[in-house]
């Protein structure tokens, strides 16, 4: 299949109406208001409507403070909405968390520094009572998946930032979740490492078939990785546009895609949605204006 041009704003192939449980995430009229200083409040999110289909890769993009992390934390049940409803595979967010329906990776890798790489990856398996032999086998698989087989006995402080992030991703995949939540996992990496990690993430995602909700503030990153880019704006945080950018099946996307015309069209579409057409026209094509 060749790469079809992205279709900005237009709803691409109409998703067949299916039962709630096959949708990975359904967010309905969600609002999150934080109490601020001296009785003032911060409306981090308002009127959020979002559906992530099973196996779909959706990026959340927007300037910092627009509520991307807050939305992800609500889906993960690390925080609760002040209004609205969130379903993950048809269950409440809390139930989904308790049943381990998702894997999560943060901007800071969040590894436990006193545990080796292997021990970090097996943490969720150990917490949920998997036997030692099964754990060892699963950790070996995951180490291969993220290309760190030689580093099992190393400690996080002996790894580069990119390697730490790979460990965190392996850990998030440990229990084969059908949904991955990622909050700027490559935000702290240099550009070259970042591009390599993106390609690796696409490969892993093709292998696991998981749905992904991916927070980023990089336009090229969102376009390169996603089936759909959700654009958000701050004060109050809300969704302003959704752009379909299917550049091809995850497994078929290679590095050369970054130089493809369809890729640049996707970048332009997202940029226009973020800044308005005038700003997008003024900026040179294909340059990241994060």
């Amino acid at each position: 299949m060749s790469n079809p041009a992205p279709q900005p704003t237009a709803a691409a192939p109409e998703p067949t109406q299916v039962a709630d449980a096959t949708e990975a995430v359904v967010v309905r009229e969600v609002e999150r208001i934080f109490p601020g200083a001296k009785g003032a409040t911060v409306t981090a999110l308002t009127g959020i409507e979002l559906t992530v289909h099973g196996g779909e890769f959706v990026s959340l993009i927007g300037p910092s403070g627009c509520g991307k992390s807050t939305l992800l934390r609500l889906i993960a049940d690390l925080d609760e909405p002040t209004a609205g409803d969130i379903r993950v595979f048809g269950k409440t967010a809390r139930q989904a968390r308790v049943e381990q329906a998702y894997g999560i990776a943060f901007q800071q890798a969040g590894l436990l520094p006193w545990r080796s790489v292997a021990a970090n990856i097996e943490l969720p398996l150990q917490l949920h009572g998997m036997g030692a032999a099964d754990r060892r086998a699963r950790v070996a698989e995951l180490l291969d998946l993220v290309g760190l087989a030689d580093f099992a006995k190393h400690y996080p402080d002996q790894l580069s930032g990119g390697m730490q992030q790979r460990v965190a991703i392996a850990r998030s995949l440990a229990e084969r979740p059908r949904l991955l939540l990622m909050d700027e996992p490559f935000g702290a990496l240099d550009e070259m490492t970042r591009e390599r990690m993106q390609t690796e993430l696409l490969r892993i995602r093709a292998e696991t078939g998981a749905a992904v909700v991916f927070v980023t503030h990089s336009i090229p990153e969102a376009v390169y990785l996603s089936d759909r880019v959700v654009v958000m704006s701050p004060r109050p945080g809300r969704i302003t546009a959704e752009i379909d950018v299917r550049l091809g099946e995850a497994g078929e996307r290679g590095e050369d895609l970054r130089e493809d015309a369809a890729f640049f069209e996707g970048v332009t579409a997202v940029r226009e949605a973020l800044h308005g057409p005038a700003a997008a026209a003024a900026a040179p094509r294909g340059v990241d204006v994060r």
Binding site: Q100, G110, P113, L127, D157, Q158
Partner: protein, 280 residues
Amino acid sequence: MTGLPDTAIATQLTPPATSEPRRRRTGDRPLRRFARLVLPPVALFIVLVLLAELVVVSLGIPPFVLASPSAIWTQLVQYAPQVLEATLVTGFNALVGLVIGAVVGVLLAIVASLIRAIDGMLAPVVAAVAVVPIVALAPVLYTMFGSTSEVARIIIASLAAFVPVFLNTLRGLRQVRPVHRDLMRSYAATRSQETRFVTIPSALPHFFTGLRIASSLAVISALVAEYFGGPRQGLGSAITTAAASSAYARAWAFVVGAILLGLLFFALTSLIERIASRHR
């Protein structure tokens, strides 16, 4: 944080060990590193001893001003059994005090970290203990427990050791990174799992830092407490006895014993601290 005055905390806390990421090479020839670490100060020490010997002998300085290293050495050899015995007595008091102070410090830190109200009650008390020169209690305690008992000295060492262990452990227990809390919540971990897998490992290096500071304080307090009375055994008693009978070189020999005791406590607790905070 606790409501302690900054000065009280500053003397009992060391800067966080996590200030910068350190990368360690495995297999960096430990012997050579040890040599590079230990040889320079040892060489300096030898030079200073020789210099002191030269100065004392050539200028004819009287022993009550400064005993010559050779005279101290002679006394140290001659009184080796007595120095060893005195060191054991003081060392035992310091060790028991350190253990009691550490245990109480850890227990109270756990309580304070769990219950805000208790933290509010404990903080001012600990602040008071932190700024009081604890050995000043010695004469009072000797009259309370009788002048033939070592209990007063052990209590003083315990009090001195308690403060840094309590403060550092409490700080460590509050040092769990938010991302680790989120992670454990995302795993739906139980409270006891969170304590075992995250809270205790996060606090351990801080506890051992407190223990290292406490070890020196325990030795100093146990020894200085002997200056104020109590049974005539232990390094402090021996030093005052020797000095009172004008045996200055012998007094210095016991001082050497005190220095070695302090170094032993410090070296052991530093080693434990290093091992505990290897991968931070």
